[in-house]
């Protein structure tokens, strides 16, 4: 991926913030700028970005962020909430006409993926909804457009209606509907030629088809890699034809797909489906939340944050921090922290959700085995209360007993104690460095032993 995501950006921004104990308005401004850049890099239209960032800034100046221990995550959370709200609910439904056939018109710019999506939709209607669709070849302009649709029809074993390249697209569409009625086919999907939204003649043609066949759905097909111009395209097609939904194609690529947000913002029409490949079964329902994460380039970091929020409350985190600073952190705390992390889900899954985690040096060789955690737990639980609270008590006979009690080799017990002591030493140093900053710079969570 070409750009770092918002999570990485905010993280490095926060690292740069000088510890003042509190997030200042200037800090919020800096963070807002990062949000702006991330969205622009995802191709969200600049006007949409502007409005959006203003909203974020207003909310961020409030206590939510400024009082938080983890301002970066709070900002991401706000961004995510607003973004998901803007993106709307899930609406991957297709209309059903009172009297069949239901007519769907596919429209869009050249090369967006209309013909392919026509085939995919028919496939979906038949497979998922048990319908009998008809494909209509109304693109008389592009060389071999009819051949293409016919091949798609053959691959799917779904009928294709065509009248060659000499017939008028309006007539083709009309006759196709008559044909569908006669053949008892209940969906008619019309594949139209790609055209520019500023081509008045061809836009007129679409309007004539629309008037003539009164479609139940008009799907605007948009390439997910579209840049700033997505708003012009969507706005124009929508104003002239009043589209009922959007299909976003080529999302199997590595584009952030900010166009999705732009289109939703200017047309307020639902994104119904996404194209996830060239094959005819690669059409998926649209999930606003996933799209939000993708635009921000943060993998599933949002899910991760939610999990963390649900399991680690801030009060406990503060207590823990206090302990770290006074170096009174003991095996019980260690166990508790481990438990919290564990309750968030399998470790390697958690790490997989962290953007860039796979790139982190050192992490590669760490065995993210949940079994290991169980062993650590067993070892700690075999310690006496005193031993847990005062690790200095450990001697070789105690270690032997612990090994026996937990059923783990003595070497493993030794390693754990060593690691724990090192961790404690590190904490002491860290809190010494941070002085009175109350750990504002602390990242979300500390995985034990890593």
């Amino acid at each position: 991926m070409a750009f770092e995501g918002l999570a990485d950006r905010l993280q490095s921004t926060i690292k740069k913030m000088t510890g003042k104990g509190k997030v200042s308005e200037q800090d919020v401004k800096v963070m807002a700028r990062e949000v702006r850049l991330a969205l622009l890099e995802a191709d969200v239209n600049f006007k949409v970005v502007k409005e959006f960032v203003n909203k974020i800034r207003e909310r961020a100046v409030g206590s939510e962020v400024m009082e938080s221990l983890t301002p970066g995550q709070q900002v991401i959370k706000i961004v995510k909430e607003e973004l998901t709200a803007l993106m709307g609910g899930e609406q991957s439904k297709i209309a059903v006409a009172d009297r069949p056939p239901t007519v769907i018109m596919m429209i869009g710019l050249q090369g967006a993926g209309k013909t392919t999506t026509t085939g995919k939709l028919a496939n979906l209607l038949r497979k998922k909804h048990n319908r009998k669709p008809l494909l209509v070849a109304a693109d008389i302009y592009r060389p071999a457009a009819i051949d293409q649709l016919k091949t798609v029809g053959k691959q799917l074993n779904i009928p294709v209606f065509e009248k060659g390249t000499e017939a008028n697209p309006v007539d083709i569409a009309n006759e196709a509907i008559e044909y569908a009625k006669a053949e008892h086919l209940d969906y008619v999907i019309i594949d139209t030629a790609g055209r520019l939204h500023v081509d008045t003649d061809l836009m007129d043609e679409l309007n004539q088809i629309k008037t003539s066949v009164t479609p139940d759905e008009i799907f605007l097909v948009v390439d997910a890699m579209t840049g700033q111009d997505a708003v012009n395209v969507a706005e124009n097609f929508d104003q002239q034809l009043n589209v009922t939904g959007v299909v976003l194609t080529k999302l199997d690529g590595d584009t952030r797909g900010g166009a999705a947000l732009s289109i939703k913002a200017v047309t307020n029409k639902p994104i119904k489906f996404i194209g996830m490949g060239e094959k005819l079964d690669q059409l998926e329902d649209f999930h606003p939340e996933r799209m939000a994460s993708r635009i921000l380039g943060m993998g599933d970091v949002l899910t991760l944050i939610e999990k963390a929020e649900a399991t680690i409350d801030e009060k406990k985190a503060k207590e823990l921090e206090e302990k770290m600073r006074s170096a009174s952190f003991d095996f019980d705390d260690f166990l508790e922290q481990m438990e919290q992390v564990k309750s968030m889900g399998p470790l390697d899954e958690l790490l997989g959700m962290l953007p860039g985690a796979n790139k982190m040096k050192g992490l590669k060789n760490v065995q993210l085995d949940d079994k290991q955690l169980v062993h650590v737990e067993a070892i700690i639980k075999s310690m006496t209360k005193q031993e847990r609270q005062d690790p200095n008590l450990m001697n070789s006979s105690r270690k032997r007993r612990i090994a026996k009690g937990s059923g783990r080799p003595i070497a493993e017990v030794n390693r754990l104690i060593k690691q724990f002591n090192e961790m404690r030493k590190m904490m002491k140093q860290m809190s010494g460095m941070q002085g009175g900053k109350k750990g504002k710079r602390r990242k979300g969570f500390n995985f034990p032993m890593m």
Partner: protein
Amino acid sequence: MSFFKKLKEKFSSTSENKQSSEKYQSGLEKTRQSFSSKLNDLMARYRKVDEDFFEELEEVLISADVGVNTVMELVEELEMEVKRQNIKESDQLKEVISEKLVAIYMDENESIPTLNIQEDELSVILFVGVNGVGKTTTIGKLAYKLKQEGKKVMLVAGDTFRAGAIEQLDVWGERVGVEVIKQSSGSDPAAVVYDGIQAAKSRGADVLICDTAGRLQNKVNLMNELSKVNRVIEREIPGAPHEVLLVLDATTGQNALSQAKVFSEATNVSGIVLTKLDGTAKGGIVLAIRKELNIPVKLVGLGEQMTDLQVFDPNAFVYGLFSDLIDAEAD
């Protein structure tokens, strides 16, 4: 002499320049108007050069899909320039802005990039790019153009995957009147291209143009397949492919930069064809691609007809983008 005057003079010096300028003017009508009028509008609204001014300038550039990094760097440079020259009013900045933008694209004495076509031996041109950008159409247009120039051209249908791809190239071959070498759908593209080369050699063709299936750059297998096609060409003819043209859709945003990077790793991309510039998109990402990867745009697609292909003239492109500004300044 002012920068604008220089550009204008350079521009009107030959009739050929004038001609291509006119084509650009009409082709880029929408692009040009909205871009330079936006810039003019910005100047009119902000007398003073301040933070808000720069933010809006960023937006004007970003709205043309100029890469975000490129824009940020450019604006930073401008901010420094403003400090250095103690510029206070936006008017004074007009020329500096255009100068900086132009400088990304043009060296002082840069000539129009031409296609590397050999005089007395077979030249092979390989077309690559993501799905639906206009590879096959551009091949049809280029075949027409080269044929007009008196070359014997042959096409090879290297897209054996997409429904109707071979038929589409066939129609173009018929339209232009050039032979198309093909196999059945689903066959190995490298084998088809190999066939094409043998046929072109034995029939004494001047130029062989290879179509390939559209592929997204993150599909490792498909990129490997493309490298294989490229290797076959390299092996069969020393020095070939003479051009690897990456086709980019002007509507594409930031992802075009990643396309350029990854396709350059799989093949030796020698130039870019920027298609669909007859729409309202600006294709500004080619500025970022030029800046970061130094790949020149060689051809421009301005429509779906056979004749809608232009040689990319950076002078004309820049002049087209800024002609309002330039004319106003230089007169």
